[in-house]
Symmetry: D4
């Protein structure tokens, strides 16, 4: 029943990605099998479940480049390289799966990204030690759950574009990630933009949209 969207790259510069976790195993197998049979350009799969992968024909499964931590897979390799340097900064180890989803989506889009983990605000001296690295990036993705204080602290330290990604890591009032989301949206640091909870993929896509700014002069009125 799924209709592939071959026009998306042409229209908005980004290929269609398949969000797998909300689909049944049967739907997943049908979609990926059809893609493998009919598409030769790179395709990105996100939130792939182990039982979905296990149900694939082994010949198709072997064509996928799978990363378990981020639950992502590439079909037919990745896109050509694009310029730009992105820092993906995560507060804690528990945020790593979301951060790596962003890194992998950037890698798929031909963008190299540096991953910096375990620099949460509770041990703020660790963040201080990495600030020069972060300031060297063109764009920063800040991944944090709980109080998401990392997003605001980075926003106060760095003038580059910052995309905050709240995560659902945590318990009690942090369950589900709304505390982190609201903290990031209400950040006292000006000009921080935010994507949905756990949406490392979306943060990377926002970066891809921005990278297009490099390739041309600003438009004049």
């Amino acid at each position: 029943m799924h209709q592939h969207d071959h026009l998306r790259h042409e229209r908005i510069g980004m290929p269609e990605a398949v969000l797998c976790g909300t689909k049944s195993v049967d739907q997943f197998v049908a979609i990926v099998t059809e893609l493998a049979d009919t598409v030769t350009e790179p395709r990105l799969l996100t939130r792939v479940l182990p039982e979905q992968l296990a149900a694939l024909d082994p010949a198709i499964r072997s064509r996928l480049d799978v990363d378990e931590l981020s639950a992502t897979a590439f079909l037919n390799g990745v896109q050509p390289p694009r310029p730009g340097r992105v820092a993906v900064v995560a507060a804690g180890t528990s945020d790593a799966s979301v951060a790596v989803e962003a890194v992998r989506t950037l890698e798929f889009s031909g963008v190299e990204a540096q991953l910096i983990v375990d620099v949460g605000v509770a041990g703020i001296w660790r963040l201080d030690a990495r600030l020069d690295e972060i300031r060297a990036a063109d764009i920063v993705i800040a991944v944090a759950g709980m109080d998401a204080a990392l997003v605001s602290v980075l926003g106060g330290h760095v003038g580059a574009p910052i995309i905050g990604v709240p995560t659902s890591v945590g318990y009690g009032v942090a369950t589900g990630g709304n505390a982190a989301l609201h903290s990031a949206l209400a950040s006292c640091a000006q000009g921080v933009a935010v994507v949905n909870i756990d949406n490392g993929f979306g943060a990377a896509c926002a970066v891809v949209r921005m990278l297009s700014l490099f390739g041309r002069s600003p438009r004049s009125e």
Copy 2:
């Protein structure tokens, strides 16, 4: 008691703005008077209340460039021009105050912006008629309340960076703007970034962060 932050521009490329609406009239008068006495660079005031303006010394009041619809004021003019073309697109007339807050913040930051209003999805033919104008911009700010469907529709039409600004316009489930916020964050259009409800200022600051990308080559590893 207020301590001005003269280092902010140097650190993150943006000056401190004063969010006036959450301050008492006495606090507002003290802060603006001190700024007027001691600062010669441009300063931006947002969410200025009429009773706050009325309480100012007329000599100081006359030095402010005030816009009533957006409740913004400039002290000491605006910043030097920066290149880049921004479209600020608002779904309805009721969203105009937030959209104009973004336009004014951009103007303050030396960036020209085009305001496009009344192109909500309910009359989608009106949006279609303006798409070429919107596609001509480097960056798009999409301002919408209620269902915020405009944000997603623009995200599906345009490959440029998009900042969604949900507004608190509406009633019933739309009261306060959470319906619009959640709709924008859950947008099926990939790579849309979002700021807090009614935060036209923040959306413009996110744009200013991005404009810095124009001025230099992407950094290499």
Copy 3:
């Protein structure tokens, strides 16, 4: 303990359906067994769980027409045909189970429905390609999760009655379907009516109520 409601069809023109998912396996088996023994007219079962079906006497199980994707089953066939043409439009593959619940309920009620999937707003060119088909229907059911922008876009394009069905597909702010529900209820498109999250059955019943309008002249005062 369950008391069947044989009068419902006579009273409101629709038979009682059994919502199975909230019942224990024992309750399910008792209800369906009694229906199979005592009722000869068509009966609809919704949200049937695999473990409930597995617990049935095979003789009774074999009398059911089961659809796995929508988790629906018909006992004793379907109702006589009714005129009218309904389009059931779903944003993505992940919404298909809810959309098919609507299609199956219509089929049970004697109404033919056309299913149109993967026309979400993120790839709005795909929706544009199907608009003529959708405009040809008497009534439209729009099924969408996440931002539910499809509901508003259809409401802006089509003058026929539209029933929005928000789905619980999604994560982060979209978890559980409230973002989609609020978006549909706050739709800027006028006259869109909405049913509970994931309630494909209810949307189809709303259609059945409307189809009665075909059969008679408007009442005069």
Copy 4:
């Protein structure tokens, strides 16, 4: 800045209505003045505030047909009559303003509606006394706040299409209308469709969409 939408009636069979309550007095005056100067067909204004009306040019004000209870106004009369009989049923006096908004929108659309008030479930004998009148209608709009039990009870008694309108009347858990909204959406009566809280206008528009079914045969596949 407001751009009128002269194409809406042609596209979806309903004229643009102006939701006034979310607009500033200046915006309201500008919009209505322009409409009065340039449009000769009927136009509907909803949620008009007294201070907005007071700010109009008296010559324009005198051309409006205003109803205070529902805060609605007609400019240039109403649309031609359409067939169909609608019952607008309200639980209590406090729900009347929303119910009359529906009645006025129907009147504007050329549809006559019967208003039945004070038949809430707490005094269910009063509802029983009016059931024959309600059953005589083609379509029913049910307006109720608090527990919105009226919506479910009507849904159990009547086979016609029912649009539930939850209202924000009430206090404590009923504040804002979410209790009524959730009750209406979770109605155990099948096929009840719902609009946003206090949205009498939207319920009437949903009815107008349905009335189009009268005018033609069901479409065949």
Copy 5:
């Protein structure tokens, strides 16, 4: 670590009941084993999990009178009979486990209760057929999920004390039972009192408190 509360009956006329579902299997076994060894009066266990029962010493397990549907168990029989006639009325089969928890708690307390199921408002003729039975009771417990309209309808029909028990049965906006809870609390029927979601035990205890009124004359000032 658990300290039994042998004084509760003396103080407030009700024995301590053990809410088992929130305890670990080890905690459950320790508590019930100690009770079985040291207490000879009746004790009530609620929300007993199958794995908890399975972990008990069979000799102790055999001393329990267990009801699976309501997940309740009696140790050492029940309390002496008390006068009074209670109707426990449940909207649907899915509400039966909560309703039976109330019936079992009453039975444990020496009170006989009549269970009336499947009289939800969607098929209101079924409720009408049972009203005389319900009116014959001294006190009514009304158990309903979804819109909980049954609670209000009973409140409009019956003058006896009514305890509403919202249930967590349902999906979408009804998930978790808040829609039913808010509907019951906002009931337009006056004087309906409510207990926590799914708290059949609490409703029965509220009845036990009331039954004490039978045994004595009203107190004079």
Copy 6:
């Protein structure tokens, strides 16, 4: 438009009360004037606003027995005395308006009630000093905002029926009264029943329903 409900007393033993605060001044005046002209039995008005009273014909106003603190009024006196002793216990002075609404409703219903204020748990020695008075009552109404701990503490001390009334007094997490409501519903004291936030009227009506138990023997099966 209001239709008075003269049958309510006959049906459920309680007269219709008019909840005034949700009605417009015009609606209020119309309803009370008609009641004053046509009804000779006692009628209760609740949540009467000062501007509503001020708009009445002075002759009618003078026939009302008004209590400002509770915003209640009696028309045509009160109902005949009924036996029973009720304690209305309020945690703080700020809860007094709700507590007095309960006392006035009881007075209207012919029941005498004792008001005990300022016995909140923060100064638990003050509650201890009044426990004997409270234990002497047949039924207890417990009125408390904030943490509503008073409701649970009373439930642990007293075996009589207890109706908890959460109030909207408080700030921060207590704003609106949900903290108090949830605390009362989740009370660890068994058998406490609850009414809507600030609903002193409803608590008194629940008492009136219970008082009927005094007048007759328990019904036998």
Copy 7:
């Protein structure tokens, strides 16, 4: 009706404070007048409204030491000095009224406190400049709205006891203070304790409880 609590100081070492903002003007005047007439020890009034002060007998009004920004007043001076050094740190000018409520409560309790304002994380260099001062305190109260990132950053820098006070300053997702509250509770900095939104008084009382630790040796088992 108010009963003063003269035993509180003896029991828990803190006098009763009167929370005025939730009381009617009449209730306020009665309480303060009685206190002024009968009590000679210091008493603290919080959240005093201007209209409450204006209604007092001028003789009593003149005996109050009122601070407008924090809306506090002292009757009969303050308590004897207690040792200890407290830093009250506020993110922004808008948080000052809450911070000063804490300072004034400490002053009332005989504790000197240092107020440090405008050190929010957006300009983190300003906080860095004040860290030595803050580290010199025995106990820290951190007052912040919006993202409340200040609370976490201080928790990462300082080993002393920290009480976080979220404030209701802000708009959009920060409205009401829940974003700040959840951020503070989910703080990644370990051992931060939190009080209710805007509760500067409560934070100071928590400090007073702690100061008792100074006066004695730790208790041995």
Copy 8:
């Protein structure tokens, strides 16, 4: 990827604890293995899952001191003794796992704590019997779910510092622990501080922060 934080103890007097439950089994094994290989000081693990322990190298597993009820583990023993006497008071057996997490964290920090369980307010006589023990402590941790009334009652009885820990024990409105959290934050007892739901670890850390007050004189200005 995890970077250990060896500076934390030096900076804020508390070692880094590893929150294990939010980490994958692979992440857990990598972190604990590295700690076991490289660190010789005591380390605390919290929310350890059985499957995480099972995946460890047995040699490393045998070096851990594990407590199952609280899901905590010590690596390399505990810290040196610190003075001070702490009472950890829990309302019910179901709250014990959280209470023991606090006790274990204190034990790890060299602080002895007394655990007092089953003194909830429903059987308030049991609490009264233990009050002298509780009053003998320097600091009190109060652990309670549901209505968390225990927190307020202790706050009214004891002048020592109190840390409230709401728990997620309960059902209906108590699900997830927000009812308990809000009740504790809105406590009518002054000066009670609160940590996140189920955060026994955080409460113990707050105590450790306070214990530092014993070791030195109050600082003078």
